[in-house]
Symmetry: C2
DNA sequence: TTTGACTATAAGTATATACATATTAATCTG
DNA sequence: CAGATTAATATGTATATACTTATAGTCAAA
């Protein structure tokens, strides 16, 4: 079984991919271990490791110590999508960016928000509603809640100059977040703010950002009709 | 400059992250090169390389040969989202899965589709409209075009047993795809198929899949109201 | 001033070796 | 036989070393 010389991890990866696609290694099946493959491919085990690790990261292989490596049963393809920072997104299209703060208040949040932010009852949060405009036209509006305890310095920031989004990205390190994407039907309020018709379908992103076991901020972005989020594998 | 002992790539990564977050290394700035960091951290260059490479993959660092490594100016966070295979998604929620083929025909596509599929004028494509049901209720419907030239064997497949989606995933290797996510307003047709009201906002995924410079298939998935796609960083 | 060749540099990668760690499988107990 | 112990094993990782490759920067020729 001398399978020729594979002297780069990319070539090893390509060969492994070929075998998976050609069904020489079928979904659910174990593939030979790293040492065996290294022997067959006439390369170092580290090279095989690099190739297989990369494939495992894309979800095509399942690897476990001692157990071995198998072809994923349901190869869930993973797409990486870039989280838009509104201003760069707009300016990247060559349009002018502007934003206005519609609401800025400190108050005890409704229970749904409180649950999502995991704050104690009675704690006041910063609430902001901001409209972002591209070439003067409504592009998206954000309904945002910020936990001031997790964000020192937010009180003294002028959020009408730099949007809350940008200020947070620039000043508060965060560890992770979770996102959901959905659609909603424009009601009276959305139609008014985004200058669209009531009853239009709108694209919505909800995002919570956390660090050190605290929710920093939770925002709901409602986009004007026609918005598309794009990505490729 | 002896920065203590960092003897795992994770610890090196953590320290680099800390310095970025603490603004010791500011956005846009070059950080010391791998050799210097290895010396400071008292570890091998390969270990530093591993740590920095991982951070570059998440978009937090920009690396270029000869130039060096710098902290990303606009740290575009990347989320990886799993592309749903409808049936597994539904069954994963403990609901029953069923699908019905509403339309199956071979015809010359409208110009918009033809452009997206990059086929020659006059070439017939396979057109399928499929409704997927969860616990008997409409969940999503797919309007799909398949390039038979790129998909040998599709003619002989019974797509009422195994959905086109599953059949393609199982039988045709693909190299990549591109996705777009958006919202639409339910018209008469969508309302009828999905058993919802006209004028409701619906979540839409459009996807083209390619391999070997050919577009294999292009599909538009329109989800019933209430659908959410979720991911985390 | 532009173009093109050259060079030094930093990341990228391959390899042998050694050890760590998770986890399965086998074995030993009570 | 159940449960604890131990051995075996595949992946995971660290290291020194050596070589490759892309490219920023420099300097000279056109």
């Amino acid at each position: 079984m001398s399978g020729g010389d594979f002297n780069s991890w990319q070539s090893v990866q390509a060969e492994v991919l070929r075998r998976i696609n050609a069904r020489e290694w079928k979904p659910g099946e174990f593939i030979p271990n790293e040492a065996e493959l290294a022997l067959e491919f006439n390369c170092a085990r580290a090279t095989v490791n690099r190739a297989l690790r990369a494939l495992a990261e894309t979800g095509l292989l399942d690897r476990r110590r001692k157990a071995g490596t198998r072809v994923a049963l349901h190869p869930v393809r993973k797409a990486t999508l870039a989280i838009p920072v509104i201003r760069y997104e707009i300016e990247g299209k060559g349009q002018s960016y502007r934003h206005t703060v519609l609401v800025e208040e400190r108050l005890v949040p409704p229970s749904g928000i409180r649950a999502r932010m995991r704050t104690n009852p009675g704690v006041k949060l910063l609430h902001l509603v901001t409209l972002h405009l591209a070439d003067g036209k409504p592009y998206v509006f954000g309904d945002r809640w910020i936990n001031p305890d997790a964000v020192p310095g937010i009180e003294s920031a002028d959020l009408s100059v730099q949007s809350a989004n940008e200020w947070l990205v620039a000043n508060i390190p965060f560890e992770g977040g979770d996102f959901s994407f959905s659609a909603m039907t424009a009601g009276k309020r959305e139609a008014e703010i985004l200058a669209c018709k009531e009853g239009e379908g709108l694209f919505v992103i909800e995002r919570s950002t956390w660090a050190k076991d605290q929710i920093i901020t939770s925002v709901r972005l409602t986009f004007a009709p026609g918005y598309r989020m794009h990505t490729e594998i």
